[in-house]
Symmetry: C2
Subunit: 453 residues, 2 copies
């Protein structure tokens, strides 16, 4: 391959339009650069609110925004819907399907998925929550569980249908468990006739000895207490040893559950192995202080896909949305300086340091925990802060406005706006026992009414 004389602009390929990729490209506005932004979806997804889609609180469109629209007026960007399958560092090309494209600079911003710790076969029974499609799939499963329980005759089977096990006690796990409990205990409790949804069992299993391990232990304790007050069963130091159609195994104990949600572990996409460079045990690429791959100053790894050590603290940079945003902005600054000729020496690049403005996790209505530069905030105040911060970061003014107004409305009305079971499904029809086929539909709770048999 050779570069033609009338193509003077250097080309940057950015893989992934998450927080890192989006902020990198935004930071390069106006530069004489040919930017190709590749993503396998046509939208940027605001991942911190995915759990709200999974629990029917928000619609997908509330937290997803078309990438093309973001860069509509930034003329140095071309957006491509597609999937990169291989990266060739030596020849400076990325390829997918039959197409192959060369780059001068590359930014790998592909994020991570959950890890089943080598037990990928658990995945169908215990879906993770990393994409919009994951979220609508979990929403379908959760809503169908209540429908199936309403029709179920057998008490043990009904209990299993009303048991929800969330694996992983990080922010996603805590938020999922809290939201599931609110659905069951408040939002839908008057909607069923045969089941009492408030008796649903919501379990949160955490491998470590506390929830939210990235936060201060005091906040971990508060999150535990809040969840327990709401009625979530939390188990600490609890390692899942098996998952099958009937439930979760923890050592010798089986927890019968039809609904398992996986929110544990971290694993980089397999595609990164095509690079042939050192990774950590989660498959994340080890990068230097300037966020580039050692020996390849033209290749940045930004966001969760990189194993990044903070240049100031020497601690690993956490896998959080604000960190990814900061990395995107950092790399944009580096590139801008080099392309404008201010600083052509790649050895003189600054090192990246994460500026921690605070971390927070929501647990339920009026319940959240926040750690803002050492200040610990809990309860209603933390919850209000969480709401404001998350709405502020939503990408468009429209969604900011509508999501905020919707939350206020739903808060007052105990409503869930998006209780739709979409896509194909088949409701598990209960096998009749004896001659009583009719009772499938007709058993009612708390009345003396008999089915007509």
């Amino acid at each position: 391959m050779c570069r033609m004389a009338d193509s003077p602009r250097k080309r940057l390929i950015v893989i992934g339009a998450g927080f890192a990729g989006l902020n990198l490209v935004k930071g390069l506005r106006g530069l004489p650069l040919d930017i190709i932004l590749v993503d396998k979806h046509n939208y940027h997804c605001f991942q911190p609110l995915l759990y709200q889609v999974a629990t029917a609180g928000l619609s997908p469109a509330d937290i997803a925004y078309p990438i093309r629209r973001v860069f509509r007026d930034q003329k140095n960007v071309r957006v491509v819907l597609g999937e990169v399958e291989r990266i060739d560092l030596a020849n400076k090309t990325v390829s997918g399907g039959e197409a192959s494209v060369s780059y001068d600079y590359l930014a790998i911003c592909v994020g991570v998925t959950h890890s089943y710790f080598g037990n990928e076969k658990w995945q169908p029974m215990a879906p993770g929550l990393k994409s919009i499609d994951d979220a609508t799939e979990i929403r379908r499963k959760v809503l169908l569980a209540f429908e199936a329980a309403e029709l179920e005759q057998d008490e043990a089977s009904r209990r299993a249908k009303l048991t929800f096990v969330v694996v992983g006690g990080g922010p996603t796990g805590v938020e999922m468990a809290g939201a599931l409990r609110e659905i069951a205990a408040v939002d839908i409790q008057r909607d069923f006739r045969n089941i009492d949804t408030t008796t649903s069992r919501i379990m949160l299993l955490q491998g470590g000895d506390r929830l939210l391990p990235s936060m201060d232990p005091k906040l971990s304790a508060r999150a535990l207490k809040d969840l327990q007050d709401m009625g979530v069963e939390v188990r600490l130091n609890c390692r899942v040893t098996g998952v099958d159609e009937t439930g979760v195994w923890v050592g010798d104990e089986q927890l019968p559950a039809d609904n398992i949600i996986w929110a544990a572990g971290v694993q980089a996409p397999a595609m990164l192995r095509t690079l042939g460079v050192p990774t950590d045990r989660s498959g994340r690429i080890v990068v230097g202080p300037d966020l580039s791959i050692p020996g390849h100053p033209e290749v940045f790894v930004l966001g969760d896909a990189g194993a990044i050590t903070d240049a100031k603290t020497n601690q690993p940079v956490p896998g959080l949305a604000p960190a990814a945003m900061q990395m995107g902005k950092f790399a944009a600054k580096v590139l801008r300086a080099e392309l404008s000729g201010q600083s052509a020496d790649v050895k003189a690049r600054p090192g990246f340091s994460y500026h921690d403005k605070g971390t927070m996790a929501t647990i339920g209505k009026r319940r959240a925990v926040a750690d803002i530069k050492g200040w610990h905030i809990t309860g209603l105040v933390a919850w209000l802060m969480w709401s404001v911060v998350h709405v502020m970061f939503l990408i468009s003014f429209r969604t900011k406005l509508f999501v905020m107004a919707g939350w206020v409305y739903d808060y007052i009305m105990n409503n869930r706006e998006a209780r739709l079971i979409t896509g194909k499904f088949r409701l598990h029809v209960v096998k009749p026992r004896g001659g009583a086929t009719e009772t499938t539909l007709l058993q009612t709770r708390g009345t003396s009414e008999q089915a007509a048999v």
Copy 2:
């Protein structure tokens, strides 16, 4: 089967929670009746706005509402998520899967689907628009078409990807064609680099000699003119004779198009054939003036699934949402009178007559046609009326408020809130020609920039 002595309440089974079923059940509030409402979805769908979901203007949750929530406080209703597969009029049972339930009264409110006039094999290439899942499927296809065109090298293939053929010139077809034209000509035109979306070809094929045949010919003419002014190609007296992967056939002429949307014909669900009673040629059940099946006063057919003659005008009742609502209310009144003992003689039942408050169809921004008791209203005034009426009938106050506010916002901003390609898809990767594999991604429009080969 026999009825047990301690089950004094009569049972009504309602199949389908569309406009007819919903209004029937609402009208029976407080009656000592055991109502089972069966639907294959967990939500009521506001069908008149489905085309807005298909064209990325609204989210599914904006027009769908959980059935259980509607009847949360109406204690004589049990909602069942399930599909009825057979109806046995003689034994008074409905069944599905392994379950079978007996009834005293039955209301069949299952609606209709589109008809391919015996060419069901056209369906995969030309999906219809009758459900939320249809709508998100069409949305995916439409949005992917622009993405694929952006990557396409071959001019003819690119033209086909940017050609949208809507078959059927009733309200759905007119609304779809107008909305597609607005997407291509206004909403996304600045988002692409290789294609000019304003050159997209939107065709509307109508078998009859005018659009909107259920409305006054003057309004048909106005709808035609409006669509043509917007840039939609309308063909009247145009019968589709074939559909395949490459486009639509009209006699000997082929219209190359990758995007075909079917909005023609009417066909009742096949399940109705299990009844063994007379139907019209669309499979709709012929009912008497009281909307019950002749010889079966206990079985009502309400909404589009019935072939119903107006008791006053002797004209067929049109398949419109307001007619279905009125039929639901009518049947509720009849049942209420009989169950309260006021009027036990089924022969004395009144006849149903449709009260036409007006019909309207929207065409585009500031363009609609309305026929209100002989008054013909067009343009901006009709469009505002259409907006107000449709928002008024949305089921919840929350969606009313949010959909209206969203429309105002999107109207001003030329925005489409739900431009998401969800679910599984595979983008058709363009085969490279010659050695120029790179150009797949890199061809740009209107610049002298060359690809690096």
